[in-house]
């Protein structure tokens, strides 16, 4: 096999170099078709969901005509609106706590050479990789033993526990590229460590804190499994309500709600991407 043919595997179309060996080109084409099919698989159900949220038919089988009725009904549906409010409160509180714990934790683990730092890092990552069901179950029995009654606060605690590591890791990634002389300069000029952190370090970390916070908020808004174990009936979250309704069957209101969530998610991903580019600049 010629080196040109081998290089074709990694050659970018931009260089304009045509692979001479047709086998490789065929393989690349086949992979391209496969990738297109994977994207179709990922997106078709979402597109169907959104399209049918504008359908007058309640059963979602055939397209009848365009309507915004389900969107209107959505805002009049008391359980959905109440659980949406719960979710917002919980997500906001969990995000605020996660940002504080995560940012401070990342900075401290970066600034100080702790004993067992590696073990600590692994412990921080445990809630990220731990199966949700184990976390939900163990928190449930813990709250029972500790005599903490289930309610909004228990869900907020549970959500913060799995959200703050995401903020911590996001901030840690940003800290690696930070110039260490920044803090030293601030200290030399007479700032206290706290002022140096607040006035010099935090502004540098802002994109990472913001994207970590967004991540935490989204994770909390979407969380179902852990909430099922840690929420009391009056602290039910929106995903819990949607889960209950979806178990019964199709409901065009859920289509409408999902469409709104998908639009929000797209905006969130685009905004995070923008933040990431800012951070990498």
């Amino acid at each position: 096999m010629t080196p040109e043919a081998a290089a074709a595997i990694s050659a970018s179309p931009r260089t304009g170099r045509r692979p001479r060996f047709s086998g490789i080109r065929f393989l690349d084409g086949a992979l391209g078709v496969w990738t297109a099919l994977v994207f179709a698989f990922l997106y078709l159900p979402i597109v169907v969901l959104v399209v049918y949220s504008f359908n007058t038919s309640r059963l979602n089988i055939v397209w009848e005509s365009f309507t915004l009725r389900w969107y209107g009904e959505l805002f009049d549906h008391t359980p959905l609106m109440r659980t949406f409010k719960n979710s917002l409160i919980i997500a906001a509180a969990a995000t605020a706590l996660s940002v504080v714990i995560g940012t401070a934790g990342a900075w401290l683990l970066h600034r100080y050479r702790y004993r067992w730092a590696r073990g600590l890092q692994s412990l921080v990552c445990v809630p990220m990789v731990m199966p949700e069901i184990v976390m939900g179950v163990s928190l449930l029995v813990f709250f029972a033993v500790a005599g903490i009654e289930l309610g909004h606060s228990t869900v907020i605690i549970a959500h913060t526990t799995f959200c703050f590591p995401f903020v911590l890791v996001a901030v840690q990634a940003r800290l690696q590229g930070l110039d260490p002389s920044l803090e030293e300069a601030a200290l030399d000029l007479g700032a206290t460590p706290l002022r140096a952190f607040w006035l010099v370090i935090v502004p540098c970390l802002r994109p990472a804190i913001l994207s970590g916070g967004l991540m935490a908020f989204t994770l909390s808004m979407d969380e179902l499994i852990i909430s099922l174990f840690t929420a009391s009936p009056d602290a039910r979250t929106l995903p819990m309500q949607v889960f209950g309704m979806a178990k019964v069957g199709l409901n065009p209101m859920i289509n409408a709600l999902s469409a709104l969530f998908i639009v929000t998610t797209v905006a969130f991903v685009l905004f995070s991407e923008h933040l990431r580019r800012l951070a990498n600049r």
Partner: protein, 306 residues
Amino acid sequence: MQGLPGSFPENPHARAPRLRGWLLLAPMLAWLALFVVAPAFVLLAYSFASRGALGAVEFGFSWDNYARVFDPIYLKILARSVGYAALTTVLCVLIGYPAAWFIARRPPVWRERLILLVMIPFWTSFLIRTYAWIAILKSEGLLNGLLQASGAVPRIFPEPLALLYTPTAVVIGLVYAYLPFMILPVYASAEKLDGSLVEAAHDLGAGPLRVFREVIVPLTWPGIAAGMLLVFMPALGMFAVTDLMGGARVSMIGNVIHNQFTKALNLPFGAALGVVFTLLFVLCYALLQWRGGRARPAAAPAASNS
């Protein structure tokens, strides 16, 4: 999202923490101790307790709950759950790996656009994405509607296909929910792979299959391992997808655990199942890291010489 989480970024300018450093870190340590470590021990204690009257928990030390886990009924459910989760993982690797590789080999601008398209489903609630499939799969749903309209139904399938509430639906739901969790880590390690290593292997006379097996797979193994962990473990415990796509017909370990805590109210037995589940998780984690450790040395000299 490179490899398995838990790596520690070293900072050469870090200083000794002294008392203040530890005091500042205390809130986070307390949080982890209270809400991660302590609950794990409480769960362990529960698993050795027994169920008293009215679902009350009587603490003690008995292996009864664990003995019950190995009852044939539950072993069958456990084996079935592992089977479904393994099938989901294999399908995610087969479907996701080629796509991740293709995306990683694009020029940077396209690479970023395409991976953004993976991020959107990744961040979209799995509940919404599972719900989307109900409309497609149910007997009077979109798929059957299309088949009916195409005229294929009367001839090939005399009756509407009963797809929803079947094992097939559960696997479709699981693969659909977790595919982005496979593509993203595989992409992360495929993107880092130095293309010249592939060229070098070709130059040295290796065929495409051999290059794939001996260069590409070992070098992207951290991504595959992370993806497998991110798909297998959640899929194993995901009772929400099984509930929605399988109805009550497909019962998995997650459903059993959930039932013990919400309906059967046998908390100690649920706790024992939870502990077994956690052990399974630790075992998989260790296995993937061990396998990763074995896969790397073969490729490491090549990587360091590049």
